[in-house]
Structure formats: C-alpha cells, structure tokens
Amino acid sequence: MLEQLSYKEKDAFLQHLHTAAVLTYLGVLLLLPLIIAHPLYLMGILFAGILAIYVSGAVEESMPFLVMGIWLALAVMVVNPLLVQNGSTVLLYGPDLPLVGRLRITLEAICYGAAMGMRLLCIIIAFALYNAVVHPDKMTGLFSRFAWKSSLVVSLATRMIPATARDLSSAKEVQQMRGVDFSSGSFRERLKKYSWLLEVLLLSSLEGSTATAEAMQARGFGSGRRSCYNRELARPRDYLCCAGSVLALVLAIYARVKGYADFTFYPELGALAGGSGLVWLGVIMLCLLFPLILGWGCRHWPYLRSRI
C-alpha cells in the first residue's frame, strides 16, 4: 500500500480547489467534531466527510483509514462503559474488578463511548480526505513562502515513502533467499532479523541522502535568497467554499455557546432532538455540504463551472 502515494489525480472538485480553500474546508471538518459532542451533529459531520470522500472518488484510497477508524471507534465504545461508572441507567452489574470496583455498565456510558468513537472517526475521515484531495506539492507550495525549509523536508519525506517501501520489500526478498526465515524463532530473534532489514534501509537511505544533497547543491539550493513558484489561481468557487466552511464553523460555535448544539450524557441522557437544535443542524449541514453541492453543480452545469 505504501508503494503508492494516497493522492491520485481524479479530476475531483475538491482536488481542483485552491489549497487554502480546501484546507479551510478540511480544517472545519476537523474542528467541528472537537467543538460539538451532540450525536446528531456528529452524525451529520460524519455524513459530510464520507460524502466528500465518495464524490472525490477516493473510497478505495481512504478505505484503510475508514477501517482503522471504525475499529478504533468500536474500541472506544466498548472500553468507555467498562472504565466509566457514571450514568444512572444501569444495564448490567458485573464482578468486582481491581482499581475499578464493581463493574457497572450504564446506558449513558455506552452512548458517550459511541459519541466519542464517532468523533474519532470524523477526525480520521478528515485526515483521509486530506490525503486524497491535497496534492503534497500544493501544500508545500502554499507554505514555502514562510516555511520553505520545513516544506522541503515534508516534500522529501513524502517522496521517500514509496521508495523506502519498495526497498524494504526488495531487501526482505533478498534476505529470505539468503536463508533468513522471518517467521521463525522467538520474538527477540524475529526482532533481530527485522533489525537487519532496517540496517540495510538505513545504510541505503544515508547513501541516497548524500546523492540527493549533491543534486540539490548542483541546482543551487541554499545559495541565496529563494523565490517561490506557486502559481495557484484563486477562483470564485474557492472564495465560495471558504465562505461556506467558515460560516459552518462560526454557526457551530454560536450554536454551542447558545446551547443549541449541547447534549447531556450524564447522569441521564438529554433529549436528542429539540426544535431549534435541528434547525441549527440543518443550516450548519447546508454550509458544510455547500462545497460538495457546488462540485455537483459544476460537474453537471457547464455554465456554472464557467462562471465560478
């Protein structure tokens, strides 16, 4: 999997947005689940994230993230009621456990665990989407004006991932043909065998880094003041997407402050859907889905595409 980078050109709307616009959108997708714990809101954000992955044609690339996220979410859901004794609706009494005391599974702790799992999944999806729609060079280009050294390090590291994965696979094959059996022996012995592979990779990487440094120097790196080749153009669609994303964030903060997006888990579960809470959710979702709606519009209406 690592032999291919996650980003693949899919001609998706989000991929063609200005990097600042798409980063704003992803930033909002990341911040919203941190601000709000209301299960319906979290479901909405999760829906928006999954929809964004789907319309960007990145389901296959994001699948490892999604699978990992679902397992983590389930783990949080299971572990939370085992460790948290709060909540008034007891579903099950268990045996006495050291440190925890008597096991007491409550409905509230299960629901809280589920909400936290969903929150985690939303965050993982935001990162999966980042991998699928942000070209690494666009990212480094955006930041290279004020942090070009860090941007360059990121770029070099990104390039190294597929090359190192290829080298690792090749080195492992070679060592196996030389009689190294990676599946046999104690844990310590196997660890030692894998450390040989790391040695091979480390030595080759060090040699490779000298060659790269030489090539960089030959092209004038570090010889004086640099300029920045970033020719990304901002279109109306970028401003519209930024506006939609920022509005979603502002509205979510407002709803949180005013209590429309609050949900009580302990000691008893609060009401899931109140009238004004749902209205706020609808408006925030509309803002959050706005870039995706624009993308759909651009795909189907050439006129809209030409205007924005």
Binding site: Q4, L5, Y7, E9, H135, P136, D137, T140, G141, S144, L152, S155, L156, T158, R159, P162, A163, D167, S170, A171, E173, V174, Q176, M177, R178, G179, V180, D181, W196, E199, V200, L203, S204, E207, G208, A211, T212, A213, E214, A215, M216, Q217, A218, R219, G220, F221, G222, S223, G224, R225, R226, S227, C228, Y229, N230, R231
Partner: protein, 549 residues
Amino acid sequence: MALLEIQDLIYHYPGGAKPALNNINLQIREGEFLLVAGGSGSGKSSLARLLAGLIPEFYGGRLQGKLLFQGNELRGEQRHTLNTHVGIVFQDPEKQLVMTSVEAEIAFGLENMGLPREEMFRRVSEVMTFLNLAHLKKEFTAQLSGGEKQKVALAAVIAMHPRVLVLDEPTSQLDPVAAGEFLDLAEYLNKEMGYTVVLIEQRLERCFHLADRLLVMEQGEIKCDGSPGETARWEVEHQLPFIPPVAKFFASLNSSLIPLTVRDGRRELQKYLSPAPFIENSRESQTIPENGRASLLEVKNVWYTYPGGREVIRGQSLSVKEGEFVVILGANAAGKSTLLKLLAGILKPDRGSVHICGQDTRQLSLNELGRYVGYLSQNPNDYLFQDSVEDELLFTLNNFHLPDNGISESVLKKLKLWELRQANPRDLSSGERQRVALGSVLVAGPRLLLLDEPTRGIDYRLKAELGFLLQKTAASGGTVVMVTHDVEFAAEYSRRVVMIFDGMVACDGPRKKLGESIFYAPQMARLFQGSGRDVLTVDEGLEQIGGVL
C-alpha cells in the same frame, strides 16, 4: 578561446592518498560534444563533479590547478552564476529528484536562483513543452518510469539555462528504449540548440557516433584525447575495452577508416568481404553434450497476475538443463523480472507450476528454496549490511547452517575479493559491491543462479569479468539464468537466449537467434547482416574476415 578549460589540475578527496584527478589538462570548446569513457573508479564522475562546481565545494578535499570558464576562474563563483554556466544530470534518476511533482521539480532550481514568478513560469512551460513533459506535470516524480525521471532531471537543468550540460552516466539505469530517447535528446540539444555536452558513458555503442571527441580516463588521468576513430585505434593498441564492437572490429583490422555507425561500417566491410567459403562459427560448433544432463528447472504453463490486476506472465513454459547459461531478453514491462521472481520462488504462479530440482516452488518456503537457488537482484545494496565482505558470505552460510570448510575463501578468491575481505562492503565501488552480493549468493552453492540485470551500470571490463565467471559457473555444472537488456553481453557470453514479449516467450533458442532478431541483434550481427555470415561478436567477425583475407 575554450569555453571550459582545466589547467594542471590535481584533486584528492578528503582522506584520499591517491589523487582522484591527476594532472588534468583539458579544453572544451563551445558547442562540442565530448564523450568521456573509462573504467569504474577512473575519475570520470570526479571530472563531472569538478565541471559542475561540486568539487571541492560539496566534497571538500584538496585541489590544485585551475578551472576556467571563458577564461575566468570558475572556483569561488556564486552558485547562481555557476548554474547558468554548467548544469549536471546524475546517474541515479531516483536520488536526484527532490520535489513530489514534475512541475515543482523543474521549478526547484529556478526558485533557488531567486527568479521572479513570471520568469519561472515561462521557463517551466517552455521546457515542459520542449521535452514533451506537459502531460506529466502533476504526476508524482516517485511514480514515473526511470526514463521519465531522467527526462525530468534534464528538464530541471535545462530550465536553468546553462551553457554546458554535464551528463554523468545518465542512461546507466535505463532500459535501451529510454536510454536511446535520452541520448537522442542530448544529440538534439547539442546539434540544434547549441549546448556544449559532456557525456560520461559506459555503454558506448549508442553514443559513440554522437561525439566530436572522446576522452579515455584511467586512474584519474586522461590517457587519450582525440576523435572517436583515433581513440578506438589507441584503445585497441593498448588493449582497453572502452569502445563499441564495430569500432573495435575495424580498429583491430587496422582499417584506415574507423566507422562510428553500423551504416558506415557496412560500407567499409565491403572492402574486407569476398565470396570466400563461409567459416563455421567456432563457438556455435562447440556443442554441449545433451546426454546425461538433467532438467533442473521446469516451468509449465505459468500465469501470473499482480494483486493490482495486471497480468504479466501468460502461459509461459520453459525448461532449463544443468550447465546451461540462459539469457532472458525483452522490453521494459515485458515480464522478465517477474518471470525471474517466479523462478526464484519469490512469487508463486497463479496457474501452472515451477519445479526446481523436481520440487514445486509452491511447496517450499523462500529460505528452503535458497538452498537450491541463488538470486541476485538489481540492487546489490539490498545484500550489504555486515561490517566486512567476509561477514556477508558467512552470514549466508550461517543462515543455511552450512560449515565454511574453505568455501568462503574459495568464493572470495574466485571473485577477486580476497584482498578486500576485511573491508566494509559499503566502502566499495559499485562493481565490487556487486561481486560481494554475488559472493553472498554463490557461497551457499546454489545449483541454479538467477541474476536480474547484473550488467546495469558496470563498465566493459567488469562485464567481461562477470561474463567469464558466469561461463565458468555454467561449465562447472551450475545453471545460470539471467535477465538483461544488454544484448552485447548476451551475444558474448550466453549459450541460449529467451526473448519475452508481453508476458509470453517470443523466441527460445541458441544465441545465434540474436543475429536473426531485428531489435535485439548486437552491433556485429547488424554489421554482418546480409553477408551470409553468422557473426555476433568482434572475435567471430575477425574469425570470418581472417578466413577471407
């Protein structure tokens, strides 16, 4: 006035007792195409680094003498200025790229020069259009083919508008098609765009005719500097191998004209040919007794598809007997390396079977197969991590629980590594590293030796050593199967060739089949095509001509 001039230059790498460049005096004229040949460690790459201003700035060390650009000392020049004088493309397409996308890679040097954005955009656009890279501009550099990577590296250098292009073995890691395309570009840049080109190369048959001048380097010194024809004569006199077959052939005949291409060679050959009786090729007439030789490798109707869905091997069958030396040829992505991995048991066939010494590879683990099969991958560095050369060999023996019994000493001596047995493998040259990797495989006494592109990036002399070694291995009962793009090597040393096209065997027969091939015919076969003579190598050509003179 020369564009570039080196005067009385001596250079030592840090800690180096011997000079890497010794007493160099050289003038390079504007618009010249200079070809530099020589063995590994002869100082060719050091010369390239010197011209590109990387010696001593990047490497340090001691330097005496002068390097002048249009009469002005180049040393101490600002890197920005230097980039407009000399640009360099390196050997390894992977390691010289920095950015993740093609467009950003081309712009990288321009950013370092501090050019305004409009100027950078103009140059990047022009270069991408000129080199036909526009369709790749958003592609990840890591996922380009070797040829595309080298083209991007060249584009990145051209964008900086240097007057001299130094190309340090740019085709050594490429397949023949990509290498040919790259050299065509170098020729165009020289002939049509007026660039001064300094090309350092090991595989001279493709670029010999491009050169105005040829330098031969040995032990850090320029041993010969002249036209390709003059240099070819000098090399034959001094028994140096750094000339392509056709030039070597005519220089050996002491011809008044040394043709640089097959076309010119055919004209010249007419002087030497007469309707004399055909002499049977002495090498083809040496038949190997078939009786008693057991089949060591049996491939039956093998199919293989990669997990991504790409079907690479399609119904291949192959039988290899003990003592055979088989070369597998084919274009890029034809399935050669995949087939070799199937033979080694690294990949298991989806359908069909591979039997080695009568055992199905699907039933054996890799380390069990390692007792029968030695596998040398494309990159010798994958093998090297021990502190000494000797330890690398002992590592393999220990893994297979084999006693040493003097086998490591014998292998080290056979591979001319005995003197280097205590050296760290990573301190050795690329040719020596490859021999260490080969030694670490041979020490287990495999009955089948599989090699993936072992001649890539090594010089003629090392190739000859490898060729003789593999012939000796086959003669002593070992079986050798080798994947290569190097048809000259196949013609010189193998006994049987298998050509693969699109995952299927297109041709399987004795080495003389190479002479019948259109694309894979070695230079000498193309030279003698239509003459009714069965010639694949210089020696065979001389034998034929010797017979009619």
